[in-house]
């Protein structure tokens, strides 16, 4: 630990000399409530480096602030986001509107793991059918918006960031450089994280929780004419030696190349206000193996690859009382994953199978949205999305493998997907009230339709996909209200999703599992219906000029058609905090707690998660050294070193114990 501290101090001071003052817009990383949308500001240039968050926290920590978002955690790295309690299959995560398909059959590489907070400006979380713009969804969507400069004559600027965390000896180093003029801009950003195993409460080391990550991002814009510009962007993200303590396998390499080219037209007087057309491509490699684990029933390698090419064209406009969005988008994905098992007897041949049989997904969709301001108080918003979704299996080996289970199955399957929503809003100061209805459909995911003996370590079953499933359909009703008066604000959201043809794995006792010593085989099938009810409330109150108190609570409930609990549903979770801000000093203390998990699903390997409470403290200070600005942030998380796990910790893997951290940012 000591040597990192020294390293960090040296790094810090060597940069201090060149740092310069830079104006900071006053902007909170607070959530802006907007009916079915939550926006998490991750930062615009330097101003992100102060205020609420631990600045160099992971993207997951930022997103967790949104009431609609929670994460399934399989270790310290790459948590899987859930929107309104719904994970990868039922939600859409995009980076600047780009679709990326994860390459891991075990969900170890959600899209959020391929970006870094230093290159993000904000995250827009849309709940339910409000999120159908970039693809068919049930639970909603997260769009991660990249950080980029504007065509302003601001010249060169940049910053250097560094941080350390005690719990896993994490070292964070980052640097960003921007150049902007009237004609061009370029943003370059690099971030590096390296962490050892973390320790749970009581100093218990969690083996295989280490990781190393590099992220490089560049965005460049060029103004062609007054209202026309072109932007190119690129992300390279590579994680190595990533441990997943809750799983039987680790990742030696997770790598993504994400590139895009966008053409933007703005028009002040025309029929539309903004027209953006983008083409993009991304390539994800995921090398998963168990080579670091001492005792395994059998050694195996499970690499996966995913490549996606896509485009969209989005038109935005305002005409009289209408504010509308139209978009066309299409993408093509190719997902392949394999498993090789190495028998103990060296005379035996390696065993091989395709776990994702080289599935091509082709999606073409249309989305339109219109906000109509009926009068000063009432407005309505309607959205309509339609898409054609095709899956086809390219690999004959994979197709023949699946035909063991489904002799009649075709290699291609095309479906039509409809997503639509309607919303009525009433705003009378200080109240806003909105009520909405939605209907959405989604296609089964690659794993759900075509997965081949995918081991789920949560319930201990091998999962077999089912290519004959219908679309899953969701009818939702939501209500939300917001009250804001003087220094007090309250918001409440409640959404009920009635999902028919709900896709879930059910045990088939006639099948024999591939993986050794496990519980059995589940095959995906469809329940007549399932219900998910999601609620959150948030209160903020400012007093004595410099203090703000904040509290929020989330409660979700999920039941299947026989009224038994669905897995991974959030119990009553509560958070309260108090912060103090004066000039350049800022302090915040908060407590996070959850009640005992009353509703859990033993069928899916869940047990009751006990109640817990965790206390966090953060302090920050902006320092000016010879007119150079530097933000120093220190804090402690889980101050009382509680040993706990939450409902969404895979196999009850405990959360980190007491963590002390320091972040330092120089802007120049």
């Amino acid at each position: 630990m000591k040597k990192y501290l020294i390293f960090w101090l040296v790094f810090t001071f060597s940069f201090g000399i060149r740092a310069q003052e830079k104006h900071a817009k006053k902007q909170d990383s607070l959530i802006i409530p907007q009916e079915l949308t939550e926006v998490i500001l991750i930062g615009k240039k330097s101003n992100k480096h102060h205020l609420e968050n631990k600045s160099l926290a992971t993207i997951e920590t930022y997103l967790e602030e949104a009431n609609a978002v929670d994460f399934i955690k399989r270790g310290a790295y790459a948590w899987e986001p859930m929107i309104q309690g719904m994970a990868s299959e039922r939600s859409v995560v995009t980076i600047d509107g780009m679709r990326i398909y994860a390459a891991c059959t075990d969900k170890m590489d959600p899209i959020t793991s391929y970006v870094e907070i230093s290159n993000l400006a904000k995250a827009e979380i849309k709940k339910g059918q409000a999120g159908a713009e970039n693809g068919a969804t049930i639970g909603g969507a997260i769009d991660l918006e990249r950080q980029k400069s504007e065509f302003e004559n601001t010249g060169w600027s940049g910053n250097a960031q560094s941080g350390i965390e005690s719990i896993n000896e994490q070292k964070i180093l980052g640097a960003a450089l921007q150049y902007a003029s009237n004609k061009v801009f370029t943003d370059i950003d690099f971030m590096y994280r390296d962490a050892e195993n973390y320790k749970a409460g009581g100093d218990k080391e969690i083996n295989y929780s280490q990781f190393t990550k590099y992220n490089f991002s560049a965005t460049s814009g060029f103004k062609l004419k007054e209202n026309k510009s072109i932007e190119a962007s690129f992300i390279f993200d590579e994680a190595r030696d990533v441990g997943y303590p809750a799983l039987p396998m680790d990742v030696s390499l997770a790598r993504a190349y994400i590139g895009s080219l966008e053409y933007i037209t703005n028009s002040e007087y025309g029929f539309f206000k903004e027209w953006r057309t983008k083409i993009y491509y991304n390539d994800v490699t995921h090398i998963m193996d168990d080579s670091q684990r001492p005792d395994v029933p059998i050694r195996m390698d499970m690499p996966g690859w995913s490549k996606t090419a896509g485009m969209y064209s989005k038109l935005k406009g305002t005409t009289k009382k209408h504010t509308w969005d139209l978009s066309l988008n299409g993408h093509f994905n190719k997902s392949l994953a394999e498993m090789t098992m190495f028998p103990e007897d060296p005379n035996e041949k390696d065993m091989f199978m395709l776990t994702w049989p080289d599935v091509n997904t082709i999606y073409t969709g249309f989305f339109g949205k219109d906000l109509y301001q009926i009068n000063k108080e009432f407005s309505t918003e309607i959205s309509l999305g339609m898409g054609v979704h095709n899956n086809n299996i390219q690999n004959k080996f994979g197709l023949e493998s699946l035909r063991i289970f489904y002799p009649e199955m075709e290699d291609s399957n095309t479906r039509f997907l409809l997503n639509t929503g309607a919303q009525l809003n009433l705003s009378t100061h200080p109240w806003t009230l909105s009520i909405g209805l939605g209907y959405g459909e989604r296609a089964p995911s690659v794993s759900e339709a075509y997965g081949f003996y995918l081991f789920n370590s949560f319930d201990g079953f091998d999962y077999i996909g089912n290519p004959n499933m219908r679309n899953e359909k969701s009818s939702e009703i939501n209500i939300s209200t917001h009250y804001e008066h003087k220094s007090f604000s309250l918001s409440f959201n409640s959404s009920l999703y009635h999902i028919s043809d709900y896709i879930i794995g059910k045990p088939d006792p006639s099948l024999s599992p591939m993986n050794i010593g496990i519980n059995g085989v589940k095959v995906y099938e469809q329940l007549a219906h399932a219900k998910l009810w999601s609620n959150d409330i948030q209160i903020t109150y400012s007093f004595l000029k410099d203090f703000t108190a904040k509290a929020k609570a989330v409660y979700r409930l999920g039941r299947d058609d026989s009224n038994t609990n669905l897995p991974l549903v959030q119990p009553f979770t509560f958070e309260a905090g108090l912060r103090y801000r004066k000039n350049s000093f800022y302090a915040e203390a908060n407590v996070e707690s959850a009640t005992k998990q009353f509703d859990y699903s033993p069928e899916f390997g869940e047990n009751q998660t006990p109640a817990y409470s965790v206390v966090n403290l953060a302090l920050s200070k902006i320092l000016y050294v010879n007119t150079q600005k530097m933000v120093l942030k220190v804090g402690g998380e889980n101050l009382f070193d509680e040993y706990y796990s939450t409902y969404s910790d895979w196999n009850n893997i405990p959360r980190p114990g007491r963590n002390l951290y320091a972040n330092l940012i120089y802007s120049f």
Partner: protein, 278 residues
Amino acid sequence: MKLLKYISFFAATILFSCSFNDDTPIQINEAKDLILVQEIQNEAHSIKIFTEDGKLEQGYNKIYFQIKDEEDFISNAEVSWTPVMHMEAMSHSGPHSEINKKAGTETLYEGYIIFQMAQNNTEYWELDFNYSVAGQEYSAKDIIEVIPTERNRVSVFTGSDGVRYIAVLIEPQAPKVAVNDISAAIFRMENMMSFPMVNSYTLKTDPRMPSMGNHSSPNNEDLFQAGLDDFYHGKLSLTMSGYWKINLQLLNEAGEVLKGEEVTETNESSSIYFEIEF
């Protein structure tokens, strides 16, 4: 109109070139997709023995041969054959088929032989041909090389009825991760030299992967004589590549188990089985 002209011109050209080819005498080598195993000679002829891979192995072997005098292939011979294994204490034959002309060929004869054992240092196989060409009798014989297979494709056992049986795996020759067609033949040992085919039995299969917790696979079908030929046919699902043990149970017409045990938690394997590795 012009298009039509072109088409007729092309058609004429094609016709012409086809008929031109037909006029040329063809000398197609009918054994060109096969590999020569060995040549057995007598004073009048030479018999060229072929298989698909150029080897004779323990188990089922599909064998082709051509008989040639000094100049020409003999296409009208009446042939019979007998494989004989010379062991230290005795000699015996193995199950083998009649010989027929391969359909659609002029010069290729075909048949199969099951070598229930491989050769070793002191014991070996010999193949005897007896044939007549235009009323004249000939014979030819020689030692052949029968190599052992790494995996067990033939099973010799005594059933609960006291009869000695030979079960041999024929297909799949190239197993795949898929539902494979599986076929086998079952013979009864009448005496050292006679192995008639057994009819109307059932061969139950239970494929397992012993190195992976002995897991099985779904949607297999037991082997029956389907009437196409005398072989037993069924379906074999292999969910991954690697080493599979196909545990067997032989049932007679009455459904009584003659040999083989069910695989259970406590019984890892049947006493009769085939092995497949790919």
